[in-house]
């Protein structure tokens, strides 16, 4: 018994140490973001937050259109996640509970597309955006992301487990059309998984970098594009760079810390089946 207790204490110690290393860079970014550049040169370097945060933040807003970037990111990530939730639930329901010719091969194709790197088609996608005259507009970032294979697969997994077939049959007997079933049975049942999917999608869209960098301009950026403008143009202005980073990251980190339990549950559920 004592051996086991020592073992357990060791486990807690190790996990705490790991948790420390996983959070220290975030903490340190807040420390730097709230200092001034001169104080970074001191030995030892500052280890506690200072009082310069708001001054640094206002310099961020003077240098890049950060307010617009935040608004753009909220619009982009918000519309993408609502659309992904909606269309993935529809397709997931069809794959999980409806019989139709070609269902298996289509589902296999969906899973297969998850392995395809975005880079493989990015040049023609860009040419397409030039043709559509969407370069520089949020459409270029939103439209290609409106639904994705991961979401469809995730909702298929969930609905095939969580949606009782008897409930659907009962609905049919009552004269429901398929759309009626979707509205009255599928959507209510899908809600918990769709919420997790929505949060995951929001995070991915918020953090997406390469494609927005290619099709958006510094005048109409998302948060990540604005941050990279800061990081590129003001290399030695650490405090401003990290103030912007903190501003663009912390809201998401805080929301995650509050809702994390559900998101983690969703990731782990998806993983077992996949």
């Amino acid at each position: 018994m004592t051996g086991r207790r020592v073992n357990n204490r060791l486990t807690y110690l190790t996990l705490t140490a790991v948790a420390f290393f996983f959070t220290i860079p975030l903490y340190y970014s807040v420390v730097v973001a709230s200092r001034d550049n001169a104080s970074l040169a001191s030995v030892p370097p500052p280890l506690f937050p200072g009082g310069n945060f708001f001054e640094n933040v206002s310099r961020v807003f003077d240098t890049v259109p950060f307010g617009l970037a935040m608004l753009n990111s909220v619009l982009v990530a918000g519309s993408i996640s609502i659309s992904v939730m909606f269309f993935s639930t529809l397709a997931g329901f069809a794959f999980a509970k409806l019989r139709f010719r070609g269902r298996n091969i289509l589902l296999l194709m969906t899973v297969g597309t998850m392995m395809v790197p975005t880079l493989a088609g990015i040049i023609p996608l860009y040419i397409l955006m030039v043709k559509l005259e969407w370069v520089g507009s949020l459409y270029a970032v939103v439209v290609p992301a409106l639904v994705n294979a991961f979401g469809v697969f995730f909702m298929t997994q969930f609905l095939s487990r969580a949606l009782p077939t008897e409930l659907l049959e009962a609905g049919r007997v009552d004269g429901c059309t398929t759309w009626g079933l979707v509205w009255h049975v599928v959507f209510p049942a899908a809600r918990p998984a769709a919420a997790v999917l929505g949060m995951l999608t929001f995070m991915t869209a918020w953090n997406d970098y390469m494609w927005p960098l290619m099709v958006l301009t510094p005048e109409n950026p998302t948060v990540q594009v604005a941050l990279s403008t800061l990081a590129a143009g003001y290399v030695n202005d650490y405090v401003m760079g990290l103030a912007g980073t903190a501003l663009g990251t912390l809201p998401l980190v805080i929301v995650f810390a509050l809702l994390g339990k559900h998101i983690i549950g969703g990731i782990m559920q998806g993983a077992v089946k996949g």
């Binding site: 996990l15 340190y28 019989r99 004269g175 990081a231």
Partner: protein, 321 residues
């Protein structure tokens, strides 16, 4: 069959019910047969327009001399690929990508396995530990690189401060090949270890408890249990993690770009230019033919690695049984 039941009593009530029945029946058949396609259509339409078509078109563009500025695109056959395969910058980027990929993936996988193993027991504060594991993954890549660029800074960096306080010389992390690869791998590991640990943990929780109970009775230590029970049982998930991290590591982009303060070459000697960054460098020159050839080569590399991976995991399965 069941679906017809409510329709049966209808005809006697209404005059002309027979026509209504067939109309209703027809509508119902269309609903059942066709509506599934309507529900999966949005995904497939979007995928064809913004996924499948661009990938095929990449191959077409790569066979041309194609810049955004010219309206004429001359067909050059495999010329772009010939130039690419003879380009030492391309092989340099390939080496860097593989080196950074291996440096980040191997320790990451072992660490993730070990963390998942530690978490796979009744612990207090499970959720607290899980959430901290995933915090780095919520942080955007751009933010991670900005933060770590500061930490790995030569003059005022946190790590060099620790090193110099032991009386050693600080390291110019960006200047060397190995040191820059280590720095970039650290960023990747920091962002992804916890995520992979959670996926492995999910698989571990599905392993039947009795196996561990039997192993404990046989006197197997915790480490032996991890090696002999857990790892063989969750091998498919390990393969999944390896494949997804391989695909991810072939596309490392933001780290080398922003670590080098937005220089497209990845350091003055291209010491940390990855394939994606090499692609981006040529894309910024608007040389679309050549950069399409690069993105196809990256795709081919991923297919090769996934294939090797598949063979290896199959082989391992065969040799154990």
């Amino acid at each position: 069959m069941a679906t017809r039941a409510p329709e049966r009593p209808a005809p006697p009530r209404r005059p002309g019910g027979k026509r209504r029945l067939t109309a209703r029946h027809w509508r119902h058949t269309v609903d059942v047969k066709a509506s599934p396609y309507a529900y999966v259509a949005p995904f497939f339409l979007l995928f064809c327009a913004f996924g499948l078509f661009p990938i095929g078109y990449t191959l077409w563009v790569s066979l041309h001399e194609w810049t955004l500025l010219d309206d004429e695109h001359t067909f050059v056959g495999l010329e772009n690929f010939r130039v690419l395969l003879a380009d030492s910058y391309f092989w340099n980027a390939t080496f860097n990508t593989l080196s950074i990929g291996l440096l980040s993936m191997l320790p990451q996988l072992l660490l993730a396995l070990w963390l998942a193993h530690l978490l796979n027991r009744p612990l207090r504060a499970q959720n607290f530990f899980r959430i901290t594991l995933l915090l780095p993954n919520v942080t955007s890549v751009v933010a991670v690189v900005v933060i770590f660029s500061q930490i790995f800074g030569r003059d005022f960096g946190l790590i060099n401060w620790v090193i110099t306080s032991f009386g050693l010389d600080g390291i110019a992390w960006r200047d060397g090949t190995l040191s820059s690869h280590v720095a970039i791998s650290t960023m990747i590991m920091w962002r992804w270890t916890g995520y992979n640990a959670l996926i492995l943990l999910a698989a571990m929780q599905a392993v039947p408890r009795e196996l561990y109970e039997a192993a404990t009775i046989d006197g197997a230590s915790s480490f032996t249990q991890l090696r002999k029970v857990t790892v063989p049982m969750i091998r498919p998930t390990i393969a999944f993690v390896v494949i997804t991290s391989t695909i991810g590591s072939m596309q490392i982009f933001a780290e080398p770009l922003l670590f080098g303060a937005y220089t497209l070459t990845g350091g003055q000697d291209r010491q940390y230019q990855t394939l994606s960054l090499f692609f981006y460098e040529n894309y910024m020159r608007l040389d679309f033919g050549f950069s399409s050839a690069i993105s196809w080569m990256i795709f081919v590399f991923i297919l090769i690695i996934a294939g090797i991976n598949y063979l290896l995991t199959n082989r391992m399965k065969g040799s154990i049984r």
